[in-house]
Symmetry: C2
Amino acid sequence: QFLFLLVAVVSVGFVSIVFVLRWVLYFKEGLAWDGGPAEFNWHPVLIVTGFVFIQGIAILVYRLPWTWKCSKLMMKLIHAGLNILAFVFAAISVVAVFDFHNAADIPNMYSLHSWVGLAAVILYGLQIALGLCVYLVPITPGSLRAAFMPVHVYSGLLIFTSVIATALMGITEKLIFGLKNPKYKDSPPEATFVNVLGVLIMLFGALVVRIATC
Amino acid sequence: QFLFLLVAVVSVGFVSIVFVLRWVLYFKEGLAWDGGPAEFNWHPVLIVTGFVFIQGIAILVYRLPWTWKCSKLMMKLIHAGLNILAFVFAAISVVAVFDFHNAADIPNMYSLHSWVGLAAVILYGLQIALGLCVYLVPITPGSLRAAFMPVHVYSGLLIFTSVIATALMGITEKLIFGLKNPKYKDSPPEATFVNVLGVLIMLFGALVVRIATC
Ligand code: HEM
Ligand code: HEM
Ligand code: HEM
Ligand code: HEM
Ligand SMILES: O=C1O[C@H]([C@@H](O)CO)C(O)=C1O
């Protein structure tokens, strides 16, 4: 049953990545780094592959059977490495929207989505810095490591959940802004397809938290 | 420190209710049941007071010091009663939007917000029904009650988190649809004010989950 959950979380994650790629490549303008809408498209792609999928796998590293033969240090390096990789994806993704907004003279940081999103990226960076200091610097005493663990797990899962919520707001915004004729309200195929992507991202988040807390 | 968290969660909850009331009464059309925008406004008001605040307090009932002198049965009745009250608020809130949409010929159930939201209301009803059968029907064996507890807590917190995420999507939609000149992008006072409401709702959710899991 535990193995079933692992297979489910990885499958839902993969399907989400396929969905976001089909969204930007088939329904939207594709990918480019030219200040136009195709540069914006890197934003959802890097968020779903990096900040959602890679972060989710990073959180689950200690629960994956194939890591059980690794040393504890090795597992920590994989956990930290994947989290750092996810952070790089998230940072580039945010640069892509800012660049697109500046090129098109759209204001920055006006939305609830951008407030919660940027806060999540910054707190994620802090979580990495603290994690490295407490769990990888060899001189940190074991008592401090143990005392800090509940905080590390709670703040890690809180940031992860906020990222999922931010992604759902971002999808909502983009469907409203991007669909004009027919509109989002008129349920064109893109609207239904991307709603399903939103449901998949939620499901992925629920499975990650489920596995990490049982 | 635990008492501090309790004071914080109740305060943030109250301020959220004040914010949503100021939003609809001062910035928007007020409240009415007339098929117009003032009927829509019951939607966020009932969601924030009922589905967010009352549900949050219901989840925390077993942790509140003033319930510790109550019998276990009494606590269960308060927990179940508040959850049923929150469900009634959520149901009326959803009726308000449907009624508004039908009166204005806006399609129903097209958005990711509406999909996740309606699913949350239905699952919440199921959670109540199952909770009553397992924990209030006297003939249910204690072994079943204990075995079901982790499922009850996980599904309860998952629904609660989904409600918070749905509320953030709803706020995002309403700010985009409702602000035309100046637009959401231009950060008029209403936009900033309601973004803060969104942050408060997130904070309330984070505190409830924190208290319920420690
Ligand atoms: C979950 C992680 C995400 C984070 C941390 C994040 C972060 C951000 C930030 C910081 C901005 C502001 C950029 C600026 O002001 O110039 C922004 C804008 C935007 N994002 Fe995201 N985003 C996320 C996910 C998504 C997703 C999945 C979409 C779906 C397409 C999306 C769509 C948008 C849109 C349409 C904007 C422009 C409108 C606005 O500023 O709110 N975002 N995002
Ligand atoms: C933003 C990045 C990070 C997030 C979101 C995060 C999140 C988490 C979560 C949710 C857990 C609980 C996993 C479980 O119980 O299955 C965990 C465990 C842990 N994390 Fe992190 N973490 C991050 C960065 C780091 C870093 C940089 C280190 C440094 C090595 C680290 C060290 C650990 C350790 C030692 C554990 C305990 C593993 C165990 O013995 O169960 N984390 N982390
Ligand atoms: C968190 C609990 C919430 C639930 C369960 C929920 C549920 C729903 C449902 C089922 C609909 C579809 C109505 C229809 O299709 O006729 C809807 C629509 C809507 N809701 Fe919510 N809602 C919630 C919170 C909010 C909040 C806090 C706002 C902020 C104002 C909001 C704004 C909207 C808007 C603008 C619509 C119309 C556009 C659409 O159908 O997506 N919702 N909501
Ligand atoms: C949708 C409605 C409901 C939700 C969201 C919900 C959620 C929760 C949560 C999150 C907890 C853990 C609280 C904590 O540890 O502090 C809990 C505990 C509990 N719930 Fe519910 N619940 C619901 C309905 C019900 C109903 C109708 C009953 C029937 C009496 C019930 C009986 C219980 C019991 C007996 C506990 C265990 C208390 C303990 O000994 O720690 N729940 N519920
Ligand atoms: O360095 C570590 O800290 C935690 C634990 O000791 C704290 O509870 C853990 O699992 C490590 O490998």
